[in-house]
Amino acid sequence: MAFNSSPYLILLIVAVAVYWLLPVGARRIFVFLASLAFYASWGIVFVWLPLFVAVIVYACGKQMQAEPGSGKRWAWLGITCLLALLAIFKYRGFLWGNLAMLTGWPEASSRFLAASFAFPMGISFYTFEAIGYLIDVRQGRVKMPPFLDLCLFFFFWPNILSGPMVRARELVPQLGFHKAFEARFIFEGADRVIWGLVQKTVIANVLGVWVDRGFAPGLHSRPSTLDGWFLAIAFGLQIYFDFAGYTNMAIGTARLLGVTLPENFRQPYHAATPPEFWARWHMTLSRWIRDYLFFPINAKWQGAPLPLYLSLMGVMGLVGLWHGAGWTFILWGLMHGTYLVLYRMYEAWRNLRPGVAETRAIAAVWRVGTLGAVLAAWVVFRATDLSQAGRVLSVMFYRFAVGSNYPALFYAYTVVIAVVCAVEPVVLKRLGEIEERAEAEGLSPFRVMARPIAYLFGLLLFLLFDVNNAQFIYSQF
């Protein structure tokens, strides 16, 4: 059952009402059963998988606590089992296909293998959470909770499908559901759920119709330069509003239960440098990569340049692979790795010349360059294959061609949404100020009516635009 569907919204209202009416002691079981039912709605055959992940983490974690001397061995055993699960369920077709290509085995076997069973929703997210959990136990940051709490940590329905990727120490302490009801949980949650719905249906899905046309499988014609750039911008906006919309709905759903999940976005297209982009885009994945891969590797080498550059490329290649089992995703990750290496090289060069001031012009070049580079990488991410990506990138950067092959509405809508994205920080700041002032003034007719009207308007937009019934992009990862 998708977040952006009427049945989900109706069941959400029922679930939240039941949750707050239940005594505190019964809430945990209720949320667990609701989470099981939610995950089962995506395919009952895979309900055992997050449960199996919980068993692996529980068994290895308990052993780590019981035998601290052999903790490293148990951590590696758990991590290997979790990576094997991910390889079997997500990468088997890709791995076999590449092996078949190298060895000359029939390619049909890889397609058969890939199609042999479906993709379990959310597996990339909860296996990474599980690996993080094991490392945190190994480092003595968390203790193993009761098994039911651990299952609930992996199954918690607001974030099981596509994050935000949480740490045990953020979510487990909240799984007692001890909070007393406060009206602000409902307002804060509903704000995020409805804004997320609007982002998904009114912005991402509408742009997605044109983007799908531009990147249709088997499309071999070269677009014009204008269309290439507009497709890149439109997909950059689509994926942002799609994933941010999903995240808002996930954070909002949890908030309706009084639970706080970490934020995942901070206006990423306002980043001034490539590292800043990753500090603003999919922040919980960036944090995972930083804490469990990048920092330990570079701590070992004390930030020396060559290991730093190699680790940036390696880690970003893995980030690409995490997104999808395909070379376009790996290349997308490696492109980001290259941007990060180039920025670190520039930073090292500048640090050697303390007298050289960073002028506004240089800062502007980095800001514009970062945005252009991110958009170019999105083309590779979205393309059906590498040759399609090459065709679009070529017209964007050197094989210039005139023409426009889309309705005027596509260009106009993309520009409007780009403006929305540009003014987002100002609007959010202004809304925060209005909220603060309204709180200081107490109840006023405006304050009483503003939210219900905004909610009704948002739901109306959802009902009007919800014709594509499109899945969230990140639910495929």
Partner: protein, 83 residues
């Protein structure tokens, strides 16, 4: 044995030096995005010099240096004095 106040003073000075501006004791450095993970490595190296200690960073995470109090706690937990 290191004196907690000496660690706190060194942590505040080192954090200000890395961030390039004065730092309040409760100011979040990593989770607020003020410094990144590579700056945390430089911060660790600076703290090691200032306090003549060794901080084994392999089992640490950047947010172990998120504010001055957390830094003091981390240093007291993992640092080893240099001979």
């Amino acid at each position: 044995m290191l004196d907690t106040e000496a660690i706190r003073k060194a942590a505040q000075e080192a954090a200000a030096q890395i961030a390039g501006r004065p730092i309040k004791a409760d100011q979040k450095l990593v989770s607020s995005g003020l410094i990144d993970s590579l700056s945390v490595l430089r911060l660790i190296s600076l703290l090691e010099k200032k306090l003549t200690i060794s901080i084994p960073p392999e089992t640490l995470q950047p947010e172990d240096f998120d504010d001055v109090d957390t830094m003091v706690e981390t240093i007291e937990r993992v640092a080893k004095p240099l001979p």
